[in-house]
């Protein structure tokens, strides 16, 4: 473990998620080459870096949607990468939201949100539905609760997907470029929701291309390059006065394009 990796952590209480020296390759492509990262309770960490730098793969590894080739991942000091661990159990305590929403098209929005509580956490049908409806109400989707996802706009679908992920009160919420598939005018409503979640204390790790948003909302930014975390630190510092030349280059090119 590199000593510099955890320097930006704030408290001394145990990290919610701890990634230690994780490697992952697909065929001949090494996607993650020794990632070490710790995320504290109530912390929002943004992963930035160009496409293919490994952001999504890292999130998928944390949710055990991919098997790591080496290294360990811990959730509240419990090793997730232990082959004996119950994977479904782990996943039920980690929420993930995908770029393409992935709502279930054959269920209404409220049933999408209530699904895990009903069938994983064994809550009653009415209880789970009422909770789901209350959540949707809170984020302004109350009137869409009984609609099918296809009838919703992209922004509404993505908000519903985020609500589905947090409905079970996961220990950490993983957001995988959740605004990348959205029209620019719909991005705002999704970012507002994430901002609100941060205020309620949800621990978030997000892969994002929204630099302004990352600067506003993230406590910490990690720059992934070629499968390693090249630089990390407080959001403002990394995004405005990066130490590494390659981070500077990436941000410059990114700002030129936007």
């Amino acid at each position: 473990m590199t000593p510099q990796a955890n320097t930006s952590r704030r408290g001394s209480e145990p990290a919610v998620v701890r990634v230690e020296n994780v490697y992952k390759s697909f065929g001949d492509t090494d996607v993650l080459r020794g990632i070490t990262l710790a995320i504290d309770h109530h912390e929002v960490v943004a992963l930035i870096g160009k496409s293919g730098s490994g952001k999504s793969t890292l999130l998928r590894c944390i949710n055990l949607l991919e098997q790591v080739d080496d290294g360990q991942i811990f959730l509240d000091d419990k090793e997730l990468t232990d082959p004996l661990v119950k994977q479904d159990d782990v996943r039920s305590h980690i929420g993930i939201v995908f770029q393409q929403y992935n709502l279930f098209p054959h269920m209404t929005v409220v049933d999408n949100v209530a699904l895990a509580n009903r069938h994983v956490f064994k809550k009653g049908k009415h209880e789970a539905r009422d909770e789901a409806r209350a959540l949707l109400e809170r984020i302004g989707l109350g009137d869409k609760a009984n609609e099918y996802p296809d009838r919703l706009s992209g922004g509404q679908q993505q908000r519903a997907a985020i609500v589905r992920a947090i409905a079970t009160n996961p220990r950490v919420l993983l957001l995988d470029e959740v605004t990348s598939a959205l029209d620019p005018e719909l991005v705002g409503e999704v970012l507002d929701l994430i901002r609100e979640l941060k205020q309620t204390g949800v621990t978030i790790v997000m892969a994002t291309h929204e630099m302004n948003f990352a600067r506003d909302v993230a406590d910490r930014v990690a720059f992934l390059d070629d499968g390693v975390i090249l630089e990390q630190g407080p959001a403002k510092q990394v995004l405005t006065t990066p130490r590494e030349a390659r981070t500077r280059e990436y941000l410059k090119r990114f700002n030129a394009a936007h």
Binding site: D28, R33, D70, D82, P83
Partner: protein, 286 residues
């Protein structure tokens, strides 16, 4: 990058994990193997020790009779294979036409839609054996055509019945392609027919390949039913041999030959659908 990779040795944790997974894997393979063998042995012992086993073995699994019956049953099977070949082509064409007719939109096409719907309703409901009698003995009775061989009418009957099933499978496939795909194709200026041919059908057929293969394999067996018309196929030949030898073994032989006939198709369909899945769906652990 790759040099790094060659140089990097997996950590002790990872090596432990791999060893654990290997052990786990070996263990499950051994368990399943042992349980399969025990199951097979128990069944075998139960059958062999049953009071009537001697007689059953004699009248169903008599090696000499099987060898003796082989040439004629094999010859009959060749007829089945030929019928199957033509029936498959016939079913593919007719089912496709019916499926298209059923999916046509607009009031102008109502008669065609109704005709196609009526056809599938009728022939999915009617037992194949009755269709065989009606077609095999009824149509020749009209004296419209010259004398045709029995297997010809058998093939027509098979095509008639199976087209109704396969047309519904095709239709399910066509309707499962998301409407946005049609929109995208029409937006490029493709005609209705071209949209169907170039965009909808390829996706539709991919989705229903397992169901199609299933119907094909079912038809492969039902080809044996043309024997009721008197055509000397494998089943009929086995019947003749059985009568001659006063022993049921030729039926067992015919049955085994039908199984062998269907095996390649089953394997090919498994392989094909597996390949499609790998190509079009992003892999994941879950």
């Amino acid at each position: 990058m790759n040099n790094d990779r060659e140089a990097r040795r997996p950590s002790a944790t990872e090596l432990d994990r791999r060893a654990f997974r290997r052990r786990q894997n070996t263990r499950s393979v051994i368990i399943s193997l042992v349980s399969t063998i025990i199951f097979a042995v128990v069944i075998w012992l139960a059958v062999v020790n049953s009071p009537g086993w001697q007689q059953v073995q004699n009248s169903f699994f008599n090696w000499d009779t099987i060898v003796q019956a082989f040439p004629r049953v094999g010859e009959g099977l060749w007829l089945n294979i030929r019928v199957l070949f033509y029936a498959t082509i016939g079913v593919a064409v007719l089912a496709f036409i019916i499926a298209i007719m059923r999916t046509l939109r607009g009031p102008v096409f109502f008669p065609l839609r109704a005709l196609a719907a009526g056809y599938t309703d009728l022939f999915r409901g009617m037992p194949l054996i009755i269709v065989l009698y009606l077609v095999g003995f009824g149509i020749p009775g009209l004296n419209l055509f010259g004398r045709m061989p029995l297997e010809f009418w058998g093939t027509i009957a098979l095509v008639t019945t199976y087209s109704a099933y396969v047309a519904e499978v095709f239709r399910a496939g066509i309707e499962s392609v998301h409407p946005s795909q049609r929109l995208a194709a029409r937006s490029l200026g493709l005609s209705y027919a071209k949209t169907l041919r170039l965009v909808v059908m390829p996706q539709a057929i991919r989705k229903v390949t397992p169901a199609l293969m299933n119907d094909f394999i079912a038809m492969q067996k039902d080809v044996g039913l043309i024997s009721v018309l008197g055509a000397v196929d494998a089943v009929r030949a086995a019947q003749i041999e059985t009568a001659a030898a006063f022993n049921f073994s030729p039926y067992v032989l015919a049955g085994l030959l039908f199984v062998l006939l269907s095996l390649p198709m089953i394997r090919i369909s498994d392989w094909y659908t597996g390949r499609l899945r790998r190509r079009e769906q992003m892999g994941a652990l879950v």
